[in-house]
């Protein structure tokens, strides 16, 4: 029996339709993880994985996570850009699994910029 069958997909669809109903409209916050080779070597995939876990747990339909290229600040990777509607984007540097969870909880959920982790402070 294959693991990803049509039946699996139908089950997934049924289970997630209710949750998805809440996920309409445009994102009001975008978190961009920079996945250049410098970022990937420095642990950006782990950062993305931890961040996606937080987003899934938070049930925040208005938060979008995207991947982007290296932004040219390779020495401070992994870099993550947080944009919240109505404010300037903030770039966080040297992220890891724990730091990005803190950024998500405090910046995204509570609106506090974590100055100690901001790039070019």
């Amino acid at each position: 029996m294959p693991e990803l069958t049509l039946e699996d997909l139908k089950r997934i669809k049924a289970k997630t339709t209710a949750a998805m109903a809440l996920r309409l409209g445009h994102p009001r916050a975008t978190i961009t993880v920079h996945l250049g080779d410098c970022g990937i070597s420095a642990g950006a995939r782990d950062v993305m994985q931890a961040l996606l876990g937080e987003v899934a747990e938070s049930r925040r339909p208005d938060v979008q996570v995207l991947a982007a290229d290296c932004m040219g600040n390779c020495a401070s990777e992994p870099n993550v850009t947080v944009w919240v509607e109505g404010s300037e984007p903030v770039v966080y540097q040297k992220m890891d699994r724990d730091k990005i969870k803190e950024v998500f909880r405090r910046h995204l959920l509570e609106g506090e910029v974590l100055r100690e982790h901001v790039l070019g402070r």
Binding site: M1, P2, E3, L4, T5, L6, E7, D8, L9, K10, I12, K13, K15, T16, T17, A19, M20, R23, V33, L35, G36, D37, C38, I40, S41, R45, D46, M48, Q49, L52, G53, V55, A56, V65, L66, A67, A68, D69, C70, M71, G72, C74
Partner: protein, 193 residues
Amino acid sequence: MRELSLHILDIAENGIRAGADRVAIRVEESSAGDRLTLCVEDNGSGLPEDKIARIDDPFVTTRTTRRVGLGLSLLAAASRRCEGDIRVESIRGKGTRITAAFRRSHIDRAPLGDVVATMEALVLGHPHIDFCYTHRVDGEEFVMDTHDLKKELGGLSLSDPLVWRRIAEAMRRALGALASGSAPSLPLEDADA
């Protein structure tokens, strides 16, 4: 890089930067031939010939953000130190195919690592791009094609973390079975046959 799956992520990101809207990733393992082959193929703008000739040179890049390009030269070095080789085929305007081979049992070969985390970063990080992941071990095959998945999911978004979480769980089970050789794994497109 400490895992081959990180190289896969890196090379796939190169394709996306080159404007691809579809990236096919294949991992093929052969016990009899003692080979592990990674192949990443995209339909992006292609690499200029002079860059292909100099893939071992980390100071060659198509980037404009900085003047060094490490990714492909790192993969080339990784495969060559494991009695393997790298092949770069590219047609301008059509796409690029990078194939890196390794001696599977070579002591210096990095583990394949977490390919599901790599696919997660790609699929969720680039919701408008299609990815096809094929993993073959001694003739048994697993296929995940996001083009097919998106069609089957209808109005649901594959890049929604809740939807993806279940897909990832299924993928981990399938790849685990494939690695242990304990269960057959059919291509997804055969699922309704």
